[in-house]
């Protein structure tokens, strides 16, 4: 059978035009909820146009009309078959109390490895400095050049300063916040290169912390260091570790151990977890940034115990939250 194309087009064209019009309305207002009748009509038109496309391919194969129908069917198809799970409404409270900690615990091994890479780096930095203190300048990057100053001198200078909130500290804090967020995101996305560079990045950042810790502690400034770093570091470092954790989840997906799924399918399975982890890390970083701006940078000695207590409480709360929040209670026997 060969189609009478003129007749076929004349008969079907109104349906194609109607579908094109509905598509135009939908693309102009993607958030619009179509009434049931319209949705049913849309589906009917999609099916009818799809059938026309098949008919045309089978019995006529006229290129222009086929292309035209392909475009309409492609657009209608993408509107009808939304990506799975997107329609589930986002519930912030449930996300914080359940989704994030549960996702974190599901990938605990990746988090452990992430922490390990960082603290091995810290050990390496401290060890290198213990062997040769002159290496300090080589470890510290230009943007943290203020760390080259002898710790006791810096502490003396900082402690003498008045409590002045407006000395460019917020700019500096913003720079740190941006830097930490970049490090966290990079730790995640570098997992795509089979995790090698996630480890490198965590190790490198750990080295910096190790150098700074060794420098301050050997100079007798341990209390200052704790009061300076703990209030924001108790959230900031876990956020970076979580970025690394997400990176290692990606790395495992790249290797595809224990599954015969294709890369595309493997990625579609972890996408939700990745966003949850990076979302959680982002929240921690925002809070860490606020604390760093308003608390960490003020170095009055009388505040040290309070700052340390604040940081310690934050850290304990975070550990408890990530360990226990969202766990299902087992019914008593």
């Amino acid at each position: 059978m060969i189609l009478d194309l003129d007749k076929f087009i004349a008969k079907e064209r109104p349906f194609w035009d109607e579908l094109s019009e509905l598509l135009r309305v939908r693309s102009e207002d993607p958030e619009r909820h179509a009434p049931l009748e319209e949705a049913q009509r849309f589906y009917y038109l999609y099916q009818r146009t799809s059938a026309d496309l098949v008919k045309l391919n089978t019995f006529a194969g006229e290129v222009e009309t086929t292309r035209f129908l392909e475009r309409i069917v492609a657009r209608a198809y993408s509107h009808l078959h939304e990506s799975g799970g997107e329609s589930v409404p986002f519930r912030p409270l449930e996300w914080i109390t359940k989704t994030f900690p549960c996702t974190f615990r599901r990938h605990w091994l990746a988090f452990t490895l992430s922490c390990l890479a960082f603290w091995v780096g810290a050990g390496f930095g401290a060890g290198a400095l213990a062997l040769n203190y002159d290496l300090k300048g080589d470890f510290i990057p230009p943007q943290f050049s203020h760390l080259n100053e002898k710790p006791s001198k810096r502490v003396e200078r900082e402690e003498k300063q008045d409590f002045d909130a407006f000395q460019g500290r917020h700019t500096f804090s913003s720079q740190l916040m941006v830097n930490n967020t970049k490090v966290t995101i990079l730790a995640m996305v570098l997992g795509f290169l089979w995790g090698i560079f996630t480890f490198v990045m965590l190790f490198y950042n750990g080295t910096l912390i190790g150098v700074v810790m060794f420098d301050y502690i050997t100079d007798g400034q341990g209390t200052f260091l704790t009061a300076w770093l703990l209030p924001h570091g108790s959230f900031e470092l876990p956020a970076i570790f979580i970025g690394g954790q997400a990176g290692l989840v990606i790395a495992r997906t790249m290797f595809g151990w224990g599954t015969n799924l294709k890369l595309r399918q493997r990625f579609s399975r972890i996408r939700g977890d990745l966003l949850t982890l990076i979302g959680g890390a982002a929240l921690l970083l925002v809070w860490a940034g606020i604390v760093e701006s308003f608390l960490s940078q003020y170095h009055a000695p009388q505040f040290y115990p309070w700052k340390i207590a604040f940081g310690a409480i934050q850290l304990i709360a975070l550990v408890l939250y990530l360990s226990f929040a969202g766990r299902k209670r087992t019914p008593e026997a």
Partner: protein, 266 residues
């Protein structure tokens, strides 16, 4: 570049197969350049607004200091936020398009032909931090684009997306394409019937394609193609000489197509 496919073939659950043209790396680069310019312009604009605000309150003793310090911090944060969120927000609002992609008629879609989800948008934009490396030269992303079959950067692979070309296809004007003023075959309806009966759909499709796309062919190719097609259809149903006298090969094939497709139901 290497074994590159130029279109995404999608097979729907309804059994329909359609193709979506994939954007070339060059058009993606141009769109990226526009987006980069927009990001820079937005950053400069907002920085200037904040600087203006700082300047206007700088004389006020305490508030001036507060605004000045917070303003400088805000500029640093804004630069980062605009770079990170520009792609996410525009792709979410414009269903897979940024300003650059809108101008060059490109769109990000799910690699199964579906519309984009929020997760995919966020992931592909976060992976930009990897694709732009080293520094901001987009080297990793470009290499990945060149060496993947569907021109996907790493963000696209992780998010399961690809960038396609939006093609404006005009509604078909079939009648004009093959219109024959007077089909001399009509005087031999029994031969027309034989032609319709003996011509398989695939061969009819080839003749129709040749007629509708004849203006795209080189003159030599056009002559040769229609000569071969006319010979073929003459073998299927031989019309008497008084009907075909003076008909060129091309006209002969147009008459065949007219008989097969337009006059089938007559």
């Amino acid at each position: 570049m290497l074994g590159r496919t130029t279109s995404l073939e999608v097979r729907t659950p309804e059994g329909v197969t359609f193709q979506v043209p994939i954007a070339s790396p060059f058009s993606r680069c141009l769109a990226l350049a526009i987006d980069f310019a927009v990001v820079v312009a937005l950053t400069l604009l907002l920085s200037q607004v904040i600087n203006l605000l700082k300047f206007s309150v700088s004389e006020i003793p305490i508030i001036g200091d507060i605004i000045s310090d917070f303003g400088s911090g805000a500029i640093v944060l804004l630069q980062f936020l605009i770079f990170t969120l520009y792609g996410m927000i525009t792709e979410w609002l414009w269903s897979g398009q940024t300003l650059g992609k809108r101008i060059f008629r490109l769109r990000v879609i799910d690699e199964r032909g579906l519309s984009l989800g929020l997760k995919q948008i966020v992931i592909r934009n976060l992976f930009r931090f990897l694709d732009i490396l080293p520094s901001t030269f987009y080297l990793l992303g470009s290499i990945c684009c060149l060496f993947t079959k569907r021109c996907q950067r790493m963000g696209d692979i992780a998010a399961g997306t690809l960038v396609v070309r939006e093609v404006d296809v005009k509604p078909p004007q079939f009648s004009e394409a093959i219109s024959v003023e007077e089909n001399s075959f009509a005087t031999a309806p029994h031969l027309e019937a034989r032609l319709r009966q003996k011509t398989p759909p695939e061969e009819a499709r080839i003749a129709l394609d040749a007629v509708t796309r004849r203006s795209e062919l080189d003159p030599d190719c056009r002559l040769r193609l229609f000569a071969r097609l006319a010979d073929h259809f003459r073998d299927i149903a031989e019309f008497p000489e008084e009907i075909t006298i003076g008909l060129s090969d091309e006209q002969y094939v147009r008459n065949v197509v007219d008989t097969l497709f337009r006059r089938a139901a007559a």
